[in-house]
């Protein structure tokens, strides 16, 4: 555990809040009309998955909870959890759906992901900058949604629907940014 300040905040980081481990889901700086700087933060409880807001004074000290990153293979979904196997120890971990969020729609069984581990528990996933997925359904003859827009929507192998340039065809491998859901490039 180490003391940091709000200046070190990063999305996805784990901190102690009200004596419990929370993940920083989002944060932004705010200045009230005539006042000093504050940091409005959305914190997700590891225990309950509940998200709450707290506004820190800019510069406040906060305890960061260290997490380890383990390479793990995604095996299958079970109830409200996702089961992974550690590539080194072969130990299995279950990660709650709440801690994966939208990223679940980018995950494929047997692929390897960076899973965050804290106190022997899987607590989250480090999102890659890009995810490569196959285009499973595309209208190759599409001329775009409007006369001027040069995009169409396609379905990827995980079921995810994204907006892509017109030249993308069924069977193409494309890269998508999991943070924004936007198309990046054709591989």
């Amino acid at each position: 555990m180490s003391a940091i300040t709000t200046a070190d905040f990063k999305k996805g980081m784990f901190v102690e809040f009200k004596n419990e481990t929370h993940q920083i889901v989002d944060f932004q700086h705010v200045n009230p009309g005539k006042g000093s700087a504050f940091v409005r933060t959305k914190l997700k409880s590891l225990k309950s998955g509940r998200v709450q807001e707290f506004t820190y004074k800019a510069g406040d000290a906060v305890i960061e909870i260290p997490v380890e990153t383990h390479e793990m293979q995604y095996l299958y979904k079970e109830g409200d959890g996702f089961v992974f196997m550690d590539n080194q120890s072969y130990e299995q971990y279950t990660l709650a759906a709440a801690m994966i969020g939208d990223f679940a729609s980018y995950m494929k069984p047997n692929d390897t992901y960076q899973v965050l581990v804290h106190n022997e528990d899987a607590v989250g996933i480090r999102f890659p900058k890009k995810v490569r997925l196959l285009v499973s359904e595309a209208d190759d003859g599409a001329r775009g949604n409007t006369a001027t827009s040069a995009t169409k929507t396609v379905k990827l192998e995980t079921g995810l629907v994204v907006s892509v340039p017109l030249f993308i065809r069924q069977g193409d491998l494309i890269a998508v940014d999991p943070q924004t859901g936007s198309y990046l490039e054709r591989s």
């Binding site: 932004q28 700086h29 705010v30 200045n31 005539k34 006042g35 000093s36 506004t55």
Partner: protein, 349 residues
């Protein structure tokens, strides 16, 4: 992808950006119909108003022989408009750019923003409360016509009369704090401890006030219908007149729509002695915080000595108005060239 590229790819995005054009035209037409003068104030200034909460952009003015003079980008048109009131211009307004450094990494602030300020001579700030409601309805009519006003999935009712609540009432209702008692530093510290906020000997009264305000009060303000929150503690109302019956509070109000803080209004302080005292304490605070230090504008104090007529004035964030009427979640989504897009190409040194 940069905004201009996104627009080229999807021209239907333009519609959202054109809301700014309509909002600004509408503001001009509103004040024109009320016989206000629109005036220009400088963006390049020698002395910004002394405000410790604001960090300035500093630059250098060179003469023909490259002799240097310190210069700043304007943080607000306020002192220029007040000098014009002293000059006798009467009711007036300005729509102008203002610049505040360090206000990045936010969906509500940008370092360069557009501000609307207007002043009414001889009127108390209640008159501006009424005028605010009328202005917003006027803009609403021009931008949306008969269409329902929605912001981020919630219906906004601006037609029925707005809620008006004092800061004191809001603290008592939402935070269960007696603000009158909270003025006492010792009492305030005990409340902070009880509420489990972090607080040290260095924590200022303003920080304690805002810690409670931002966490417990503001999330409830202006959600269902627009709210005018009035009578702020004098300690956080640098250029406003104190309330005659209780000088701990100042005649300052802010208004909120859909949770967005849109404007900040004062019955203006006209007393040069009191103004000088407040500037001195702001300058002291600027030094203490290690911010860019400058002298306050003595010509402004001189103007107050000559005589600022009794007046009220308000600053409204035009970019936030555009956010509201174009249903944008991020202030940067109202700008063709948001600063974060401009500067992210050049990561910091």
């Amino acid at each position: 992808m940069k905004t201009w590229e996104k627009i080229r790819q999807n021209p239907s995005l333009l519609k959202k950006y054109f809301v700014r054009e309509t909002v600004i035209k509408s503001i001009r037409s509103f004040f024109d119909s009320r016989k206000f003068h629109e005036v220009e104030t400088p963006l390049l200034v020698a002395r910004p108003p002394a405000e410790s909460y604001v960090e300035v952009f500093e630059t250098t003015l060179l003469d023909r022989y490259r002799n240097k003079t310190r210069a700043f980008l304007s943080t607000s048109p306020e002192i220029f408009l007040k000098k014009l009131l002293v000059a006798g211009i009467g009711n007036c307004y300005s729509i102008t750019k203002s610049f505040r450094n360090t206000e990045t990494q936010s969906t509500l602030h940008v370092p360069e923003f557009t501000i609307l300020e207007w002043y009414r001579v001889g009127d108390p700030y209640e008159k501006i409360m009424d005028e605010c409601e009328k202005l917003i309805r006027y803009i609403h009519h021009d931008v949306l016509g008969d269409r329902t006003f929605m912001y981020q999935g919630k219906r906004i009712d601006i037609q029925s009369s707005w809620e008006r609540m004092s800061v004191r009432e809001a603290f008592s209702l939402f935070a269960k704090v007696d603000l009158d008692a909270f003025f006492d530093m010792g009492y305030a510290r005990r409340i902070m401890k009880k509420k489990k906020y972090k607080e040290t000997d260095d924590t200022t009264w303003e920080e304690m006030f805002h810690q409670i305000f931002l966490n417990e009060v503001e999330p409830h303000i202006g959600r269902e219908k627009p709210t005018i929150l009035y009578e702020y503690p004098s300690l956080i109302a640098a250029l406003s007149k104190k309330k005659a019956s209780d000088p701990r509070y100042a005649e300052r109000f802010e208004f909120y729509i859909a949770g967005l803080e849109l404007g900040d209004c004062y019955s203006e302080l006209t007393d040069p002695v009191e103004q000088k005292k407040r500037f001195d304490s702001e300058i002291f605070e600027i030094k203490r915080l290690g911010k860019t230090h400058y002298e306050y504008d003595s010509d402004f104090i001189h103007a107050l000595e000559v005589g600022l007529p009794s007046c009220s004035g308000i600053a409204v964030g035009v970019d936030r108005l555009v956010m509201l009427f174009s249903d944008a979640a991020d202030i940067s989504d109202t700008l063709f060239f948001p600063a974060k897009e401009e500067f992210e190409r050049f990561p910091h040194d």
